[in-house]
């Protein structure tokens, strides 16, 4: 049996992580959510050689430790990891942040609304898109 596609969530807010967890549950495609609290932890996870690459990285920009911007830059500059889709989820609508993330190779950038229902809907839509609609890079799982 094919393992469930894995989503790595980089998020230090438990509430926001919970919202993403709920979004995963509402998704039509089943997936495993693996949450880490910082960019450093995310990189450690990704760099475990025997581990399969995730289907998606959901990255909050403002985490403690190494923040999302730096983590994004390191992932996208690593030849092995560069193909993993990274979707930024942030409170910041600052054009500078947008500029930075897209330049660094972010695959998408989404805002986190304060209103819970909107937030949840946004997350469901993002996950649905990346899990159901996107044709993934063929290299996934080949390297193990």
């Amino acid at each position: 049996m094919m393992p469930l596609p894995e989503i790595i969530l980089v998020e230090d807010s438990d509430e926001d992580a919970d919202t993403v967890q709920q979004a995963v549950q509402r998704c039509s495609t089943p997936a495993r959510l693996c949450r880490v609290q910082s960019g450093d932890a995310c990189l450690v996870l990704l760099q475990q050689a025997q581990r399969e690459l995730p289907a998606l990285v959901l990255m909050d920009l403002n985490t403690h430790g190494m923040d999302g911007r730096e983590t994004l830059r390191l992932i996208k500059s690593d030849p092995r990891l560069a193909t993993v889709p990274v979707v930024v989820i942030s409170t910041s609508a600052n054009p500078r942040d947008l500029e930075h993330c897209y330049r660094a190779g972010a695959n998408a950038y989404h805002l986190k609304p304060v209103r819970y229902t909107e937030h949840l809907e946004a997350m469901v839509a993002v996950l649905g898109y990346w899990l159901d609609r996107v044709v993934a890079h063929p290299g996934r799982g080949v390297q193990s």
């Binding site: 409170t91 819970y116 937030h119």
Partner: protein, 828 residues
């Protein structure tokens, strides 16, 4: 020689009189009373001597006698006829003649060697009478001092009674040694004068000795005085310039001393009156025996003076004043050695004059400096020129003045007695245009008669007849003025200076010296005490201190501005980070409230409402944070200036606020096509969206009317000119910077703003109404408008009244220059 007295009279009465002695040699004895004008009297060649002594004119080559005073028989015991043409040694003996010969030779050698040989022993006798020998008159046995000097190639020998015993020799230096020491210690001019008077009087025994000081206009004042106790004081009395005519002053520029032994002593004419070889009259400027002018003796007689001694006080080759000695009790003998002592004293007074004045001024300067230093420290400490008048001390305390005014930051700051502000304005404008005030190194103007230079000054002559002004900078009108009051104070004249000299005297139709010496008190109008050089210098030093202070403050301000810009940056960065970080917990709170409400089956109605409130508040806080974020970004983004069609920008803004218009009838009016301006298009649109949504929101009328218009620069200027003349000018905040700019406006018929709240509306999150009134809102819109406008170097302001709607005006500078520097972007 024998001119009839009738011809004198007819000459004197003619319209353009020739001198009575026209064509012949002058003799005071013969023609003195024919003088019609003091300034034409040949006082240096009077042709006569005072009759108590005798004078011989010798030929330098062989010491034969060329001229002799007609009284030689009485004084010397030999009649003129027996002397003329004879060698001197026949009269005084070979010893004395040889002594004279030796002196003459030394003097000539000295003149030749001058500049090579220093410290010569023998006196230079050219124009400088010096003692040569004592001669005993054979017929009386009286000892006579002979003094000699040379002038214009002849040798002049004067004989006078020694006034002492045979072998007694007074050492005039010993006489005045004490005086010299005292004079050297004088610390003020008046102290110097007092010492001079006292010492001359002690030395001579004259009844009254005065220091008479000349003022700039030539009139004189009794500056110091030492007198016999029973005499009235003349101290502080002023005398008109004519009392000492120009020829007399000229004599005192050449000689130190002028003795007159006896006003009624009679005159002895020279025989012959002119030199037999050259035909020239004898120049008697330096003769101790020189005959006084008739005018002078008459003047003295009018004052009941019987004998006089006059010494000159010179300063820098100018005649500063006189030491005048008067005697009232008959003839007064002033033998050679006494005169020499007095002369030396006069020279020392002249030498010490500069030192005493310097000491006096140094003390004054020190006082001024100390005050000015305190002032500058004060101004530096309190950070403003206005501190100069807060005191103590103030600008008033340094210089000796009655009032002071400082023009700084577009207004006058005054202390003491000054003209009114309106008068100061006009005076300031006049001063600024004066060429003196344009000088780079010395922008200074000083006068003790302001109304002569500046006729409107008559209106405030009482407080400001004297003006000393300096400019602190040439570009801006920055003035410091010191005023001196009119010296209406009284000048006490010795006699009425105006009642002379048209009086016909006892000698017919000619001028006579003043006869009245009654105290005459006169008010001097439009004049102040003159400014001293030391005061002008102090003003310039003050200016320099102030300039240094201003430069230092400019540096300080530049530093403060940099600090301010930095802290603004940091504030923006802080606002940005803070609002981000605040959003995360806010999202959590909202979520829990939401989830609680969803599972609230068992909760009561009240708790459900509370949960709804919690949710609503989190959302409201979210909008506030968004505004704060936005506001902080306004200050940080670069402006992209381009030519903007305001009409298009307004169209876009109206589209963006369309949702706000709702169902209510709304009329947007654009009275005339909007102009093009240079601005950042996105920011300009944001200004309009904020102003328009504000206008739409705060309106209770049945129909919302909004006018979007503009004023061209010339219309703004016209409006400025109008408001400047109305009482509204100050309450209506049209900024002066708006002049000559294109001003844009948005006018509504909304609720309006109370005048006292006008300043509030631009404050962050400052709402004038209830949170949910007028459709809610964060209260950041107008704050953002102001920041956007000011970021572009412009200004925004309001005209409004409650119930009458509001009009928001703003301008963005036509030129790019006043932009505030873009602030560094700190990404959170």
């Amino acid at each position: 020689m024998n001119t009839s007295s009738t011809s004198v009279a007819s000459d004197a009465s003619s319209v353009a009189p020739q001198p009575a002695w026209h064509g012949q040699a002058y003799s005071t004895k013969r023609f003195g009373i024919s003088i019609t004008d003091c300034d034409s009297e040949p006082v240096q060649t009077p042709g006569c001597v005072q009759a108590h002594g005798a004078l011989l004119v010798l030929r330098a080559a062989d010491l034969t006698i060329a001229q002799v005073s007609e009284n030689s028989a009485a004084v010397l015991g030999t009649a003129p006829a027996a002397l003329l043409g004879r060698p001197l040694q026949e009269l005084v003996g070979p010893g004395n003649a040889a002594r004279l010969q030796a002196m003459l030779q030394q003097s000539v050698q000295q003149a030749v060697q001058q500049g090579v040989k220093q410290g010569a022993q023998a006196p230079d006798i050219e124009r400088n009478p010096s003692y040569v020998f004592t001669h005993t008159a054979l017929h009386t046995g009286l000892a006579l001092d002979a003094s000699v000097h040379t002038v214009e190639g002849v040798v002049v020998l004067e004989f006078e009674a020694t006034g002492r015993g045979d072998s007694e020799q007074r050492d005039f230096y010993a006489l005045i040694r004490r005086s010299v020491a005292q004079l050297q210690r004088a610390t003020t001019l008046s102290a110097l004068g007092d010492i001079a008077c006292a010492e001359v009087r002690a030395l001579t025994g004259l009844d009254r000795v005065m220091v008479y000081r000349f003022h700039d206009d030539g009139h004189g004042e009794v500056f110091c005085e030492s007198r016999r106790d029973d005499l009235p004081s003349w101290l502080g009395l002023h005398y008109p310039a004519q009392d000492i005519p120009e020829p007399a002053r000229e004599v005192f520029r050449q000689t130190w001393i002028r003795p007159l032994r006896d006003v009624d002593g009679g005159l002895a004419e020279l025989l012959p009156l002119t030199h037999p070889d050259s035909g020239r009259p004898l120049r008697m400027t330096h003769c101790a025996l020189r005959a006084p002018s008739v005018m002078y003796t008459e003047y003295l007689r009018n004052m009941r003076v019987t004998a006089s001694l006059t010494l000159s006080i010179r300063r820098d080759d100018k005649l500063w004043g006189l030491i005048a000695g008067h005697h009232y009790s008959g003839p007064f003998d002033m033998p050679y050695d006494l005169r020499a002592a007095c002369e030396l004293l006069a020279q020392i007074v002249s030498l010490q004059h500069a030192a005493a004045e310097e000491r006096e001024h140094a003390a004054y300067r020190q006082r001024i400096d100390s005050v000015q230093q305190q002032l500058v420290t004060q101004a530096a400490h309190e950070g403003g020129l206005a501190a100069l008048l807060d005191g103590p001390p103030t600008l008033l305390d340094g210089l000796d003045t009655g009032g002071t005014a400082l023009y700084h930051r577009d207004r006058w700051w005054c202390a003491g007695s000054t003209p009114s502000e309106k008068e100061l304005d006009a005076l300031g404008d006049w001063l600024t245009a004066r060429p003196e005030m344009q000088l780079r190194d010395r922008p200074l103007f000083a006068t003790d008669q302001l109304s002569v230079h500046y006729p409107p000054g008559q209106a405030f002559a009482s407080v400001a007849s004297g003006l000393l002004a300096i400019a602190l900078s040439r570009s801006a009108k920055n003035l410091v003025l010191w005023f001196r009051p009119e010296t209406t104070q009284t000048v006490r004249w010795g006699g009425n200076p105006h009642d002379k000299p048209t009086v016909v005297g006892p000698h017919g139709a000619r001028l006579t010296p003043r006869a009245s010496f009654e105290l005459f008190i006169e008010s001097v109008r439009g004049r102040s005490k003159p400014w001293l050089a030391v005061e002008l210098e102090a003003a310039m030093r003050f200016r320099m201190l102030m300039m240094e202070l201003i430069v230092a403050r400019a540096d300080q301000l530049a530093g403060l501005n940099a600090d301010l810009a930095r802290s603004n940056d940091e504030l923006d960065a802080f606002a940005y980070v803070a609002s981000h970080d605040l959003k995360e917990p806010l999202r959590g709170i909202h979520k829990y409230a939401h989830q609680l409400a969803e599972n609230a089956g068992q909760l009561g109605e009240a708790d459900l409402q509370r949960l709804a409130g919690l949710t609503r508040l989190t959302l409201r806080m979210d909008t506030l944070l968004d505004s704060l974020l936005h506001f902080s970004r306004v200050g940080r983004a670069e402006l992209l200036l381009e030519d903007c069609d305001v009409g298009e920008v307004v169209e876009e803004a109206l589209d963006m606020v369309a949702a706000r218009r709702g169902d209510k009838p709304t009329h947007i009016e654009v009275p005339r096509p909007l102009p093009h301006v240079r601005a950042d298009r996105v920011r300009l649109r944001e200004i309009y969206t904020n102003l328009l949504s504000n206008a739409l929101k705060y309106n209770q009328q049945a129909s919302t009317n909004i006018e979007i218009g503009w004023l061209a620069p010339h219309e703004v200027a016209a409006r400025h000119a109008y408001t400047a003349n109305t009482a509204q000018a100050k309450t209506r905040g049209w900024p002066s910077a708006a002049n000559a700019q294109t001003v844009l406006y948005v006018r509504d018929n909304g609720i309006g703003i109370e005048p006292r709240h006008i300043d509030q509306v631009f404050k962050m999150f400052r709402r004038l109404h209830g949170r949910d009134d007028y459709g809610g809102g964060t209260g950041a819109g107008l704050t953002i408008v102001r920041k956007l406008v000011e970021r572009g170097g412009g200004e925004v302001w309001i005209e409004s009244a409650p119930g009458q709607g509001s009009c928001f005006y703003f301008f963005l500078p036509a030129e790019d220059k006043p932009l505030s520097p873009p602030q560094a972007e700190n990404t959170p």
